[in-house]
Symmetry: C2
Subunit: 358 residues, 2 copies
Amino acid sequence: MNSDSLDFDISRYLVECRRLTLDEIKEHVPANPRHSGGLYQLLMDYPLRPAKALRPALCIATGMSMGGYLDSVLPSAAALELFHNAFLVHDDIEDGSVTRRHAPTLHNLHGMAAAVNVGDGMLALALGPLLDNVRALGIGAAFRILQVFARMARESAEGQMLELSWIREGRWDLTDRDYVRMVHKKTGWYSFITPVLVGTIAAGTLAVRREAMARVALLLGIAFQIQDDLLSLEGEEAEVGKDGWGDLWEGKYTLILLHALRTATQAQRQEALRILTLPRPGGEGASSRPVKTAADVSWLADLLRGRGGESLAHARAVARAHALRARLIVDREIAPLPPSVHRTFLTSLVDYVLSRTH
Amino acid sequence: MNSDSLDFDISRYLVECRRLTLDEIKEHVPANPRHSGGLYQLLMDYPLRPAKALRPALCIATGMSMGGYLDSVLPSAAALELFHNAFLVHDDIEDGSVTRRHAPTLHNLHGMAAAVNVGDGMLALALGPLLDNVRALGIGAAFRILQVFARMARESAEGQMLELSWIREGRWDLTDRDYVRMVHKKTGWYSFITPVLVGTIAAGTLAVRREAMARVALLLGIAFQIQDDLLSLEGEEAEVGKDGWGDLWEGKYTLILLHALRTATQAQRQEALRILTLPRPGGEGASSRPVKTAADVSWLADLLRGRGGESLAHARAVARAHALRARLIVDREIAPLPPSVHRTFLTSLVDYVLSRTH
């Protein structure tokens, strides 16, 4: 473990980055918007709800640990946060989610039509800071960053569609590799790879270091996603109800679930598949078909946590393997950088992921 | 009327531009996409359905009539068509529409989750040709075009939200000026102003001509929208049913409707407002409330066409006034350009709009 990461307060760093990012976003919101039907108020709802804002922090930490200026990374951090919140608004519609960050989802508050449009408005607004990059970075680097964002948006849509196609086709015979590939596209690109890549471009880093950092980001992203899946089953908030165990209500693909299905008895597998193919109450198709019940979801949770926690242990081991590989690259690429709070944030993040896999 | 526009076949020009634009779009679709859940097949559904493709044609005609090369306008034309189709997919969800271009809407075919994501995927794909612009235009012009697209996406979201806020607040006391402002934002920017502006940038036109052309585009766009509203009431396809009189089923704001409400008796106005605030069958909120009936919609249509067609005549006059002002600028800016099929398309378009207002 890196020595200066022992006392480092990750959450303080996150809070500071979030504040800077929100200030930057506000620069792009018209102060006194006329004839826009309240678009910008709805648009700022999700970004202003309490959140970690990991993506902007990753971007800022990468860029500044490698010698970039704050002004050269902040516009990209703001764009990342706007893209993320646009995806959240649209995802909540797609998943029929009821709450987001401890409050009702946007489409539940203002209707689906407004929510679809607010997501589109956020994507539009995100282009503003990306075009602003010209000022601090010059037109060449600004363009390279736009190319990364374009790729990111495509990868996310592909990953989302890949998962939807699995659900539509009732595919539950998936390998860990299938899962990792989907997560790579669906969340890896926009939550980890892009923040880090864009940070390195803003800092003017050499291409070879850029590729190494993208690799770290992907490995970390997969470890994080698996740990999130574990926490949503094991954590304190994991209780039956529409908000707890959301992954099970939604029939979301997780390593834990795939492992449990592979190792279950024939009868268990059949019952699990029956439940997984039912819509959640209030979800799409729920009005014309039977829906999942709390008893169904509880049964699934028992299956996933059962057999001595074998499926949980498997997922934890895969997450750990990814985090360890990330650590190897971090030791080579980041540890030798000049000491800074930004470098410490990055090394602490890897340590933090590893510590959760003990 | 410009002499060479007499025999000009507008639809042949449109067909040719559409073919070129679709070929350009296909360049950006992966030939053999793996692990994307069929995203690109769904993404090409709307663009491949029969359509006029007016936006790419406007962009190509403007750019080439002013000396631009085909290669310098085609990427922007492709991006315009992708943005347009993304808006259509999302609009159909927002409006609860059943058909689009004589076939079921995307969300009716593949579910709402897939459709929201396909729209996002189209927006992502549209960034590809815009970044390609660097090759033919250089990085400066490519950047200016991106700025126009960013503004366009924001204006569209604002216009859409403005209309949604009117619906939410039950606002029917609107002036013609309110209507024109909403159309300017909601469809004017992305259907007319952007195609023309981007065409002038691709051709390297002077800023003063650029502004004049943006003005023509706005005037034409408003005339076109009013005429579309008229046709959907008067045209052959305007029959009761979920596809005919779609504007009335949706409670869409039109100049005709606003005029009819202003000039109706107290009793007529009350009945009209009762109907307008009901959701359409199958639309958002339709499951818990009474919905519009065919008799309701028929009654509305009679109100709009009644009193000697006074409201229709008013809308026609406003459209004509806008088209005449467009013609003045066209005579000054476009008529003196060297003769070309592109110049002829632009002048014919203005003549065509004017001829429909006789």
